[in-house]
Amino acid sequence: MKLALLLLLLPLSVLAEPAQVIRATPLQKEPATDAARVAELAENTPVDAGERSGGWIRVRTQAGAEGWVKLLALRYGGPGAARRGDSGLAQAFSAARTGSSGTQVTTGVRGLEAEQIAAARPNLAELNRMQSYAASRDASAAFADKGRLRRQSVEYPK
């Protein structure tokens, strides 16, 4: 019991997320390209993934080797683990908007599937409401400053 409690209290940075590497990739000792190589991981190697540092994720292999791999070399879910079932959200909502007769109820929240989009009539009241929430350029700059966001000069790719 105590052990279970302890496990629950461990920080989320433990290596707990099942994942796999999608191409042959080096396992580095530190999150840097010039760090020492712990191992070479073959394509589709399953790993347990943990914390992120820049473009790197800390992982452990099933053989117990620990280190860092490039974030984009990793796919979460592992082999076959992507079948996690339906979120159920969309059905819950679509049930909510369908009455017992199967006809659409106009109150409440509707889903946003192709049929709703194709059949939509303009809603000018919502359009006006949306426009009332607009932020000015100056206000958004102050907001960015509060978050310590510093503007950078970055070129578009060719």
Partner: protein, 278 residues
């Protein structure tokens, strides 16, 4: 197009009077009309782009209303407006809205309106991830991807002049049809190349705004780890390349940019505070 055909028919029918007809037909106007059918895309003025976008945004809001959370709506507008300020079209009337829908999706409307569903916001972990998604949609507006697709699609059902009329004149009888066609675009999706371009530009725009550049890849990884059969993903997956393909394309083309700005703020706490259920 019809005018050109009539003109050609007139010329062919009366060879003896060709000289006379040519003078009276105003051949320049015929040629201009013919040219317009092909290059109409580039000719839509900014006010026209904004006006047609307004019609389309009103329709999308008819499909799903805004989330009833004014603070959330203002927050998303601050993030989006800051991102848009880092682009070549900083002074469009930028508007951002969270749609009350459980599906995971986001939409860019010509002229500067961006929507993201509450379902997608709920799956995000930081302001950098929100910024990544908004920046991708902003890129669609910058490059006029939807406007071009609408014109291409509409040419099949609206003849050249009627299409030009509908684009330029809000009171044109074809205007309603055009807005409906434009909105329907969101059920079919854009070209794959447009989506991948928006991913690349989105990474750049988020980095310019000072965000952790891995925001958009982070959301794509979340989508990729979900069950592809999940009904909340159906429309997004139908209208976009797979998350795995998009991540692969980013790794191939954008790795240096991603790594250079990976240490910028993610703003997880501010995001959690601003998007909590109220």
């Amino acid at each position: 197009m019809r005018a050109l055909l009539l003109a050609l028919a007139a010329l062919a029918a009366t060879p003896a009077q060709a000289q006379f007809n040519l003078r009276n037909l105003d051949i320049n106007r015929v040629l201009d009309t013919a040219k317009n059918v092909g290059k109409a895309v580039t000719d839509i003025s900014e006010p026209d782009e904004i006006a047609i976008g307004r019609d389309m945004a009103a329709r999308l809001l008819g499909a799903a209303p805004l989330a009833a959370d004014a603070e959330l709506q203002r927050y998303v507008n601050q993030v989006g407006r800051w991102l848009a300020s880092q682009t070549e079209r900083p002074d469009l009337p930028w508007h951002f809205g969270v749609l009350e829908a459980p599906q995971l999706n986001a939409f860019a409307v010509p002229g500067g309106t961006i929507f993201v569903t509450r379902g997608l916001v709920q799956r995000m972990r930081s302001e950098a991830e929100l910024a990544g998604v908004l920046a991708h949609e902003i890129a669609h507006v910058l490059r006029k991807h939807h406007l071009k697709a609408i014109q291409k699609g509409a040419q099949a059902s609206l003849a050249g002049e009627a299409l030009n009329q509908a684009l330029r004149d809000q009171r044109s009888p074809a205007r309603d049809k055009l807005a409906a066609l434009g909105t329907e675009m969101y059920t079919r999706g854009l070209d794959r190349g447009d989506e991948l371009e928006a991913d690349r530009l989105g990474v750049v725009i988020a980095a310019r705004a000072g965000y952790d550049s891995y925001g958009l890849p982070g959301v794509l990884q979340t989508l990729q780890a979900m069950n592809a059969e999940d009904s909340a993903l159906a429309l997004m997956f139908k209208t976009h390349p797979s998350p795995a393909d998009r991540l692969g394309a980013l790794a191939e083309k954008m790795q240096p940019t991603l790594d250079a700005y990976a240490a910028q703020p993610q703003l997880r706490e501010r995001f959690a505070a601003e998007t909590r259920a109220r």
